[in-house]
Amino acid sequence: MAQTGFTPISLYYTATAAATPTAGNLVAGELALNNNDGKLFYKDSSGVVQTIASKSAAALANSTTGTGATVLATSPTVTNPALGGSTSGSVTLAVPAVAGSNTATLPAATGTVMVSGNMPAFAAYSIANQTPASGTYTKVVFGTEVYDTNNNFASSRFTPTIAGYYQLNASVAVSADTNITGCAILFYKNGSGDKSLPSQENTSLSGIGYETLSASCLVYLNGSTDYMEVYAYVTGIGTNRYIFQSDFTHQTAFSGCMVRSA
């Protein structure tokens, strides 16, 4: 309704849903409106009617540049976009090459794209000697964190909050008063040893006062309740046994990171 005392200016329009103007309806420079669909039309220089605006958020105006592709305008803002078209093959997201290559290709597979923000990584090492009892599997204490990108490492325990497959690495330096007779390093999952996790054990040592053991594993962790720890034991001649703090040659350390999502 026009304001009183003023003459309204109205475009050529229709209120019929899905109705579009024909080329014959428009002259060069004329606009047409479908106020039911919320679309604005014009006739291009070739005489073809084009849609230049739509109230539908999903309908993006296509650029005429590019080959075989839809090219968006510079820095478009798209909310909840849905890519349509072929249901096979792959979708390629490409950005202008500003410094080397910057192309991301998504394969035709279901999964989660992993970036640094959702791939936890941690590293820690021991800062105090431990004196375990002989023949006793003892949790190794890693008192200092080097990094813990997702705050998933605490009390010498790694409890990732993102489900996935994790590569873990650990080493433990041990000794006995005179000779070590046996020692081992093991990963514990959820408080117990796991037959699928690699370990290292030496039980036929002779004349050795020091030993550094190491192990690594690839393990699935559910991102909520699963956790990993490192245990070790040492048996030897003498009254004292040690799990050494890290120094230049005896590293007692624990590290890991996600290698793929669940």
Binding site: A133, G135, T136, T138, K139, V140, G182, Y233, T235
Partner: protein
């Protein structure tokens, strides 16, 4: 030490009973201040010591 107490009760036990692939007794310490404890006891002939024996 729990290991020493068990060895004093059963002097015939060796390290091989506690560690290694043929171990039948598992002692564990979770480094939580609660000390050593028997995680598993499946020795074929020797009975698990009672708390009184280990006290």
């Amino acid at each position: 030490m729990l290991y020493d107490k068990i060895k004093s009760i059963y002097p015939e036990l060796t390290d091989a009973d506690f560690v290694g692939r043929n171990a039948t007794i598992t002692l564990q310490n979770d480094s939580d201040g609660k000390g050593d404890y028997i995680k598993n006891w499946s020795h074929p002939t020797l009975a698990k010591p009672t708390n009184e024996e280990l006290a």
